[in-house]
Amino acid sequence: MKTEKSDKVVMAQVHAPNKKVGWGVYVISAFLILLYLLPIYVMLNQSFRYITDLTPRLYLPEKWTFDNYIQAFHDPNLLNGFKNSIVYVAEVCALEVFLGGLAAYGLARSGGKVSSALRTFNICVMMIPSLSLLVGTYSLMVKFHMINKIWALSLQTAAIGMAGTMFFYTSFIVSIPKDLDQAAAIDGAGILRTFFQIILPQLKPVTVTRLIMIAVGTWNNYAMPTYLLTNTNKATVILTVRKAFYTAYGSVQNVPLACAECAVALAPVILLYLLLQKYIIEGQLDSVSK
């Protein structure tokens, strides 16, 4: 037999479904947090060790040292890597947001067969795995002397992400009322002016989210940069850190130093994540629910 509940109780349940949370929730929370911070702990733990410290990695170092960080900060390659990564990220962000936003505006507003064909084409392009293009891209770039040029890699990276950015923007521009454009057109504004003065301000919040996603993806990009930037002078942060670990596998085995370089390389990303969490998490939530 079904137990009858009074409506009041039920409504209270709906509006505050789990007001009374047991300690179980906190146990699970603590477990999840530990599980997700473990690699960071392992990395930091290693980075404060002497190279001779072979005590279990689970426990704190036998003797603490900052030498690895001092060495990492004095590594010219790491500093240079930061510079290269910043240039690379800035170029890709600018290209993708500007060209992608402009194109999405054209696609969303023109309508008709050409526009819908281009949108289908976009979805197909998004499915091309970038490694499928490795041979084709690399051999062409060698031919046209575009190896070890950050601008060339930026153009390539922006091209790979462009379809996704256009797709993202198109769905937002469609939701902006057309009346706004028409009002601007009646006032004599050209298409470009309409885009910059009417559409772009409306896209500001989603652009912040998109910019962060592009920046993170570009900063972390590995496969193409490793083949297109072979010169140490041109290496990005990720390539430099990866190299530090690579030597760690080989003869030198300086894991603590590699971990310190890794920590230095990760610090700005984690810091930005914590500072911009509102835009990253809320922005992602908003962009999904559109």
Binding site: G100, L107, Q156, I191, Y222, Y227, A258, L266
Partner: protein, 290 residues
């Protein structure tokens, strides 16, 4: 006038599509061309072999193994990430102090490059003084060789990839859950429906659009997996944990088989296309209007 405006709008797409054309379509065409030749990747000599490269795919044990691995990376990660992501979304959707902190920490690994993550995780799953073995030692269990066999390595890579990218699913499902109008739940509760039934009969069907997005993104991401493998196993032992993406780059730069590498690249593109399109179509057909 309308027509002129339409074409002007479409012309805004030109720069973006030009970039896609130069850096994606041309290299793709070039890859198709190269795939019909025997070529070491740098010499002037290219020998036409017709479909031979495509033919040798079917007898290449490493290719078949890498393809199987790629399917495990794709489907395994998708399954794990969606189950974990949905559970995490249901968990942080509850009202409790610190839920935002849990959300923040669970999403954080997405900000970290796969190459760096693989390098750090190596010291967790390592045989000799790995953190996981350290933990087992606490309980009196001896060291386990986690990455001794190919299948062990493949499963650990799948696990780490799912662990790292799970936050994305979590946010998608969280947005989906928050978008479900409260009135459905209220009505069901008034009718005496259990929480379990509400989840399966109301929440899950209404989450279908979120499921489509999450599944397709995870599938394509898993099929393209590259970064983690580089530093975690380097494709080993004995090329048994390669993904197709990684195999493509090894064929080109280590084995100097550019033609064959291009053919494998085209095969990967075709595989992703054949897998993703029908699944996308199927999931879209299951979405309900509300």
């Amino acid at each position: 006038m309308e027509k002129r405006r339409k074409w002007m709008l479409l012309s805004l797409c030109i720069p973006a599509f030009l970039l896609i054309f130069i850096f994606m379509i041309v290299p793709l065409g070039n890859a198709v061309k190269v795939s019909f030749f025997k070529w070491n990747g740098y010499s002037q000599k290219m020998r036409w072999v017709g479909l031979e490269n495509y033919g040798s795919i079917f007898t290449d044990k490493v290719f078949l193994r890498s393809t199987a691995n790629t399917f495990i990376y794709g489907f395994g990660s998708t399954l794990l990430q969606n189950i974990a992501g949905l559970s995490a979304a249901l968990f942080v959707n509850r009202q409790f102090k610190g839920r935002n902190l849990v959300r923040l920490i669970l999403y954080m690994p997405i900000m970290i490059s796969g190459v760096i993550m693989g390098a750090i995780q190596y010291y967790i799953f390592n045989y000799d003084n790995g953190v996981l073995n350290n933990l087992l030692n606490l309980f009196g269990i001896g060291n386990i060789y986690w990455m001794e066999s190919g299948i062990g390595s493949v499963l650990i890579i799948t696990l780490i990839n799912s662990w790292q990218a799970m936050g994305f699913c979590m946010l998608i499902y969280l947005a989906g859950l928050q978008n479900i109008p409260k009135m459905y739940e209220e009505a069901a509760l008034l009718d005496g429906t259990s929480r379990r039934q509400i989840f399966f009969k109301i929440d899950l069907p209404l989450l279908m659009p979120a499921i489509t997005t999450a599944v397709i993104t995870n599938l394509i991401g898993g099929f393209k997996l590259y970064d983690i493998i580089v530093t975690l196993t380097n494709g080993g032992p004995n090329r048994k944990s390669l993904s197709l993406s990684y195999y493509i780059s090894l064929l080109y730069f280590n084995d100097e088989k550019a033609g064959y590498s291009a053919a494998v690249g085209i095969a990967l593109f075709i595989i992703i296309f054949i897998v993703a399109v029908p699944i996308n179509q199927y999931l879209r057909s299951r979405e309900v209007e509300y």
